[in-house]
């Protein structure tokens, strides 16, 4: 009997101790967690300093028809790719500039950046950018580890090459040259 009583007493004492410890300062919940994900996408931009280039007076049968230069900045922040290409293109190559129903085709519009030679906007698309017979790659900048995040500033020169014997009708010729960069 004494042994049985001791057993009961032991159980009671244990219960008491557990009750005392369960409610007190410093009680903590189990941790709950919030998963955070934020994605930074690759970026690529072309920003002309001005968006209008002018040529005050056209000289027929000459290549000395240079528009006012355009400074443009190309910036990129990439994760992959081997080059950044800047493409200039006219949407309708046969009508790069229009004066009513008189047109100057893109093959007679030439461009260059830096001190490179002028070349006509008469190539095909690059990396899906541009149109057939109306495009020109203005630069192709190699990129890789260490240069995936960078920018460059260029002066774009555009001219009409009406040599050797193209005559134009008096009037204002207007057109839109698209500038677009692409990663390859």
């Amino acid at each position: 009997m004494l042994l049985v009583t001791r057993g009961i007493a032991g159980a009671l004492a244990l219960t008491l101790a557990a009750g005392t410890a369960s409610a007190q300062v410093g009680l903590t919940s189990s941790p709950a967690t919030v998963g955070l994900t934020a994605t930074k996408a690759s970026t690529l931009s072309v920003l002309p300093l001005i968006n209008t280039a002018t040529l005050a007076s056209i000289t027929d049968s000459s290549s000395a028809n240079v528009f006012s230069p355009v400074t443009l900045t190309t910036a990129w922040n990439l994760k992959a790719g081997s080059s950044v290409d800047l493409v200039g293109w006219f949407a309708t190559p046969t009508q790069a500039l229009a004066n009513g129903s008189d047109f100057i085709p893109s093959s007679q519009v030439e461009g260059r950046v830096g001190a490179t030679a002028y070349a006509p906007f008469s190539n095909g698309a690059t990396g899906g950018v541009g149109v057939a017979n109306g495009s020109l790659v203005l630069f192709s900048q190699a990129v890789g580890a260490g240069t995936f995040k960078s920018s460059r500033s260029d002066q774009l020169d555009v001219r009409l090459n009406l040599a050797p014997s193209t005559s134009t009708i008096a009037g204002d010729y207007t057109g839109t040259l698209n500038l677009e960069a692409v990663v390859q």
Partner: protein, 192 residues
């Protein structure tokens, strides 16, 4: 080992009233009744449950800007406490490694760039998760106390729901590389 009468005294010292322990039987003699008390304490309860928003994402980060996570984290905190032993329930949010709250590639975004707000709690405006621990919960420089709820007899058993709004402040931060930046924010309640 104690004899029976001494053993009864020990029991009385431990507890209070109520249960009779049978005396050791002897023929023709009744033992004196011994009285024991049973004290059964219900275990205290303190829990934190995220009912929605446990996975937060920003689809497209903007450099040099404050980027908000689109939806709040809804937090249910429940407790069953003894107000005589617990004055407050605190909810703390923290990053285990404050200097690396979010990591993408080799880039680490510190917890000081992660802001939290609980309009029903303490940081009613967006505040950096860069404080110290509360009641031993959290990390130095990587914590934010979201609420501190006083406990009394009227709310010793209760729940509360709060919305935690989060932002990523990239103003003045170096331009991020294109990556997925991931991290884990821990929420934990503690009594004081």
């Amino acid at each position: 080992m104690p004899t029976h009468p001494r053993f009864g005294a020990v029991l009385l010292g431990l507890v209070g009233t109520l249960v009779t322990v049978p005396a050791e039987a002897q023929a023709g003699r009744l033992a004196q009744a011994q009285v024991l008390s049973l004290v059964l304490a219900a275990p205290s309860v303190l829990g934190v449950t995220i009912t929605s928003g446990a996975s937060q994402s920003i689809a497209s980060l903007t450099d040099n800007a404050v980027n908000g996570f689109p939806s709040p984290v809804t937090i249910l905190t429940n407790w069953n406490l003894n107000p005589g032993q617990t004055a407050r329930v605190n909810l703390v949010a923290y990053f285990t490694t404050p200097s690396q709250a979010l990591v993408g590639g080799a880039t680490q975004i510190p917890s000081s760039r992660v802001l939290g707000r609980v309009t029903t709690g303490l940081p009613v405006t967006f505040t950096a998760i860069s404080q110290g621990p509360v009641g031993g919960i959290g990390t130095a420089g990587g914590s934010l106390q979201l609420f501190s709820q006083a406990i009394s007899g009227t709310n010793k058993v209760a729940t509360r729901t709060d919305n935690l709004d989060l932002q990523l402040d990239l103003v003045g931060f170096p331009t991020l590389d294109p990556e997925n930046y991931t991290g884990t924010l821990t929420l934990q309640a503690v009594t004081q």
